[in-house]
């Protein structure tokens, strides 16, 4: 369509249906787009927080599981192979790892007289994929005299905020603790071996003194005082720790996990509800906005009936008029989705800055899913416009050829 023809046709096909209604509909559409995109983005942000690996944000999707101790099973807390295999098959289990406990006696003590301490200790090990500390120091091989250790964050908190105060000892930062080298002594049946231990990280996820698997296997093989048995604790990776099927499975099998996860699942429900409300409001607004725009297109076509009839009489093709109307109504729709997407991107960036101050890390940009939904909205608006224009123009198309008798004037 050449430019002058387009200008002339635009001059003729003018809406007499009231611009205020159209502007209201477009505003509603903009709001609907923002609400919908925000709902998607919040869901994505939340899922990212749940599934992020090796960060402190990911506490929710790893669960340490053990038997619930009762009078009946006390002293028999081992988890049988059948239960581990069954748990592995469950749809909510993404990965499963065992926590291998030390089967030898061990102690740790200070090398320094300035911080004297001594305690008997036990260790656990688990595959690296399940540990929320990412460090290159996390390895051990036979012959190494230094054993890396990961300590629960709670241990340091207990020391700093209880023990050090009551014993009049200095408080320690994680960096200082990592610099302290202590002595680990392992006792066999007849002998003992000493190593130097060093804390390489702090875990929020697993409340045990962790050592590398290679060290644990070597030490158990060499110094075990009890026979190899099934593990007492497992760690599973799951997408959604608040999944009711997971909770019900654990309860049915007499297993338990820590209450931190339950607390987190409450947040999950609140966020789910907020996302649902946002999405539903956006969807309802979108439906209404599209209905109003559809109605507006039909009113425009109806109000321009004499012009459209004369244009077709003079040889203007209905296809050309469809194209013109499509351009007239689709371009503002496209523009609105673009503006809505930018507004959502801005909100995401502001949230990123705000949450970064709260030590919560989300992406600063919109997710591909959000952009995909924006594209789907463009397609939806385009289809709704096309359908509405075709419906409105259909009688004229029929009249232009061999349809009903035309009214001459």
């Amino acid at each position: 369509m050449n430019k002058s023809l387009s200008i002339l046709l635009n001059k003729l096909i003018r809406s007499r249906a009231g611009k205020a209604k159209y502007i209201t509909a477009m505003f509603a559409l903009l709001l609907a787009v923002i609400l919908l995109l925000m709902a998607v983005q919040i869901q994505v942000n939340f899922n990212r927080l749940l599934s992020r690996e090796n960060t402190r944000d990911s506490i929710a999707n790893f669960l340490v599981i053990n038997r619930e101790l009762t009078d009946a099973n006390i002293g028999n807390s081992r988890l049988p192979d059948s239960l581990i295999t069954d748990l592995q098959k469950q749809p909510f289990t993404e990965a499963i790892g065992t926590l291998e406990a030390s089967r030898f006696k061990a102690s740790i003590e200070s090398n320094s007289s300035r911080f004297p301490f001594y305690t008997d200790i036990s260790f656990e090990s688990t595959p690296s994929d399940f540990i929320d500390v990412n460090t290159t120091d996390w390895h051990w091989e036979e012959g190494n005299t230094i054993v890396p250790v990961i300590v629960p964050t709670q241990f340091l908190d207990i020391y700093n905020f209880q023990f050090s105060i009551s014993q009049n000892l200095p408080q320690l930062t994680p960096a200082i603790v990592k610099m302290i080298v202590f002595k680990i002594t392992i006792y066999g049946q007849t002998n003992k071996v000493e190593f130097n231990g060093r804390v390489v990280g702090f875990s929020d996820r697993i409340s045990s003194m962790l050592v590398p698997g290679s060290f644990m296997q070597w030490a158990n093989q060499k110094f075990a005082t009890t026979a190899l048995t099934n593990p007492s604790r497992l760690i599973i990776k799951t997408k959604d720790p608040s999944n009711p099927r997971l909770v019900s499975y654990l309860s049915k099998k007499g297993l338990k996990t820590d209450s931190e996860k339950t607390r987190f699942s409450k947040f999950r429900r609140i966020i789910d509800m907020a996302v649902w409300i946002l999405g539903a409001s956006g969807l309802i607004m979108l439906i209404f906005a599209i209905l109003i725009i559809t109605l507006f297109i039909q009113l425009t076509v109806t109000s321009c009936k004499p012009e459209i009839i004369l244009l077709i009489t003079l040889g203007c093709s209905p296809k050309l008029l469809n194209k013109l109307l499509m351009k007239r109504f689709f371009v503002p729709g496209l523009l609105l989705v673009t503006v809505g997407t930018f507004a959502t991107a801005l909100l995401q960036y502001i949230s990123y800055l705000f949450l970064a101050k709260q030590q919560i890390s989300i992406d600063s940009l919109l997710s591909p899913y959000t952009l995909l939904v924006a594209c789907c909205l463009v397609i939806l608006i385009s289809v709704a416009n096309r359908f509405s224009i075709m419906e409105s123009m259909n009688p004229y198309k029929k009249n232009s050829s061999n349809g009903r008798k035309w009214v001459s004037k």
Partner: protein
């Protein structure tokens, strides 16, 4: 080429059935490159026939073919192409867009079709003495001025047939003659046929055929 085979308008059946006619209920051909005059008093179907040929109405018995195809078989897109590139028309009731200027009315029709070799709008307007109203809205122009604008609008597009329905009804002799000269020269340039419907027998053009409805 237009061919009419036993065409009879349904709406005028009672009035025209017993009347002698060269066209109604007869087999007639309107060939390209020939000038045809249709003469008839009011109410005998001049405008009706022009509308049948232009495919605006289909309330008739018989068959009208254009280029050997029943005109009722053309779909809307094909019909648009024919109307914008092959058949030009001056309606008896002119049918200009009142809200557009005379120039816009003509330009719009011209832009709908392919590029034509015809004279420019300004030259044709000069020929018919309406240069001064080219940029005025159509609704404020006199009927005579609008009629000349409608003639120029028809001549501005490429065409092989020109349908004229009482095209000079509101023109004085001088303007009629100027319009005739412009139409004749443009038809010659386009090697186009012409079908004119008028109330009285006339000698506006060198007709090849003359029919009484």
């Amino acid at each position: 080429m237009f061919s009419l085979k036993s065409v009879f308008p349904n709406a005028l059946r009672d009035r025209l059935f017993h009347r002698q006619s060269d066209v109604w209920n007869k087999d007639v051909d309107f060939s390209t490159n020939s000038y045809t005059s249709l003469v008839a008093p009011s109410g005998t179907g001049k405008t009706t026939l022009i509308h049948f040929l232009y495919n605006l109405r289909n309330d008739y018995s018989g068959i009208i073919t254009y280029n050997n195809q029943n005109i009722l078989d053309y779909d809307s897109e094909a019909l648009s192409k024919i109307r914008s590139n092959e058949i030009a028309i001056v309606f008896q009731d002119l049918r200009l867009f009142p809200q557009l200027t005379i120039r816009e009315n003509i330009s719009l029709k011209k832009a709908l079709g392919k590029q034509s070799v015809n004279l420019s709008i300004d030259v044709m307007a000069e020929c018919l003495n309406i240069s001064h109203i080219l940029d005025k809205p159509a609704h404020i122009c006199s009927y005579g001025e609008q009629q000349r604008a409608a003639i120029i609008r028809a001549l501005a597009q490429p065409f092989t047939y020109l349908l004229l329905d009482e095209p000079f009804s509101h023109l004085d002799l001088e303007n009629t003659q100027k319009a005739i000269d412009l139409i004749h020269s443009t038809c010659t340039e386009n090697k186009a046929g012409l079908i004119i419907a008028d109330l009285d027998q006339n000698y506006y053009f060198p007709y090849h055929q003359q029919y009484f409805l």
